[in-house]
Symmetry: C2
Subunit: 243 residues, 2 copies
């Protein structure tokens, strides 16, 4: 997250003043391309900045917040799953700056297409986070911590669980000496279709058609693979109830 | 399927000689742009062609095969789920010509990127189907009926079930007044990642990290939504077993 935000902010001509990490090497590596100061003690973070962005794993946010008390600048974390309140003792201005995307270090994404979800403890914090967001993304939306929790949950379905289904499909193929390449165009098209349609309208397949003959044939093929069979039965049932 | 194949074959300079449908209007509509003859009686299909492609729903293939006995040209169906043997009385040369893609009438796809899976009852049928496939696709592969059944099953996971997860995510969002647009870039990126990586390497999220705190928070949010909760528990368990 730090890597991606630093690159996006730098590209939008913001100044990355300091990079903090407990690990000096990590701080230096990220600071270097931006001529930023690397610091490995959190007390060395300056207040003379517009914003301090906390880009750490969810379970480390609280510990960082404990060390960032009574600051004067805007402070925001970047997590989808953690409520804003964790920052309430850090500054009079705090909030959340959550880019909703699956980010892998070193693999740049087009940040302008990444939605950024913001939340501020007051109007000033909110406006500043929105303004910052708009310099690096085309989609900036102010939502509550409650909405963000559900958005993060929905993202687990659309990203992590979807990938788990791809992995199940890959296993089925490899058991039958078939390359995963055969499914790649279908996976692209499936994701492409819902870029315009709502997924309810894009649904196809034997479950939607209530094609019990094909469903039973598939269940036979899954005999002896209890996990795949459970997934098949559950998702078929869910689709059938909707159609 | 008929619409897509007719357009792809025409674009590759094949002649669409005849289009048969029980519904004269449908036959005429598809035949017209190709200057083909529309026929509404299957007996009127000529043997003086290279191939007759059967593009009907799975449960209609057998009925069509019953009416296409003792022909002399190559006859192939285009289904992923039906074994080749259903055509054994139609001709000395028969087989399967299965384009693996989610096709919607009227929405053209780049057919060259669609894998075509072929099977023939003998070498001559196989070679003819492979040659035909190569004129419209970059990926043509000869597989057995047994392999094709499993490939079709894997496609249900990667396409129909994936779309069902998109729909669950969309419901979560709509319950909290959030637009599905927020997830669309994530869905694209998730499909994009596995175009190069195997899905096992692309897996991320709380289940992979065994982040029980987040998992429990998500399960709380799903309280009272038993189907979504079942999906969450099952896919989380499957991911956790792998990592």
């Amino acid at each position: 997250m730090a890597w991606h935000l630093a690159h996006a902010l730098d590209a939008a001509h913001h100044t990355i003043a300091q990079v903090y990490s407990r690990n000096s090497r990590k701080a230096a590596d990220l600071a270097h391309p931006f001529n930023a100061e690397a610091v490995n003690r959190i007390e060395h973070l300056s207040d003379e900045v517009d914003v301090i962005l906390i880009c750490v794993s969810d379970d480390a946010i609280d510990a960082v917040a404990q060390q960032l008390k009574n600051r004067n600048c805007l402070i925001a974390h970047t997590s989808g799953a953690i409520a804003m309140g964790v920052l309430q003792e850090t500054s009079p201005f705090y909030g959340v700056f959550y880019p909703l995307q699956s980010l892998s270090q070193g693999k740049k994404v087009d940040f302008f297409s990444v939605p950024i979800l913001t939340e501020g403890n007051n109007k000033a914090a909110e406006m500043q986070l929105d303004a910052l967001g708009k310099t690096i993304s085309n989609t900036v939306k102010n939502i509550t911590s409650e909405q963000r929790k559900h958005l993060h949950l929905a993202a687990v379905f659309a990203n992590n669980f979807t990938n788990a289904l791809y992995a199940e499909a890959a296993e089925i193929l490899s058991h039958h000496n078939l390359s995963f390449d055969l499914l790649r165009p279908l996976i692209s098209e499936t994701a492409q279709k819902v870029q315009k349609l709502p997924p309810q309208e894009a649904q196809t397949g034997p479950a939607k058609r209530h094609d019990e003959l094909t469903i039973n044939k598939h269940l036979e093929l899954l005999n002896g693979q209890p996990e795949k069979e459970k997934v098949y039965r559950l998702l078929t049932e869910i689709i059938q109830k909707k159609f």
